[in-house]
Amino acid sequence: MLLIALGIGVLAVVVSAILGPKKASRAKLMAYESGNDPEGGVGTGQRFPVHFYLVAMLFIVFDIETAFFYPLAVAYQKLIPFAFFEALTFVLLLLVGYYYILRKGVLEWA
């Protein structure tokens, strides 16, 4: 399936690359910066706001947490009530971290 899907994508690109006209000009190929001359480019150390890194890290942490939750959820009914307390402890510990980032203002987007 993945192959087919990607195949379609590639096909489309190739076809249009063949069929499409090629009349490039500097102005056309200039990156859009509201008319200013563009500067920088890929990998020329553009700085991202550090906030995005924070979000990424939080995502990693919480996503792993979700990943831990899935097996528990699937096996849940075979393990009650033990699994419930397990999950409770887990979530509580998670909430500690959540409270921390909350108070730290990581989730504030000014």
Partner: protein
């Protein structure tokens, strides 16, 4: 049913690549990525062995290792960013304040 040795060979290759990366690359990010590669190599090995022994502890271990990897990513990126924002470089050789 692919024999276990193939998986082990694969993980070995991955691990070796990671090791080479650690030893040769000079930017912290690349070293760091190589380490992640090594971690995944051990994940593969764990899963393969778990299958060959037919018990699940290996698989659960993989979960743990994944978590460790994630935690390392979080902290490692934090440190690397902290340094990068201060001195515009993450080249390990440039970090020579502590000599001797």
């Amino acid at each position: 049913m692919v024999p276990t040795t193939y998986y082990i060979a694969l993980s070995g290759i991955l691990f070796a690549l990671g090791m080479i990366g650690v030893l040769t690359r000079r930017t912290a990010i690349m070293v760091f990525l190589s380490v992640e590669l090594m971690l995944n190599a051990s994940n593969i090995a764990l899963v393969a062995f778990a299958r060959s022994w037919g018990d699940l502890t290996g698989q659960t271990a993989v979960f743990i290792v994944m978590t460790l990897a994630a935690a390392e990513v979080a902290i490692g990126l934090a440190i690397i960013i902290a340094i990068f924002r201060k001195r515009e470089t993450t080249n390990v050789d440039d970090l020579a304040t502590l000599k001797g």
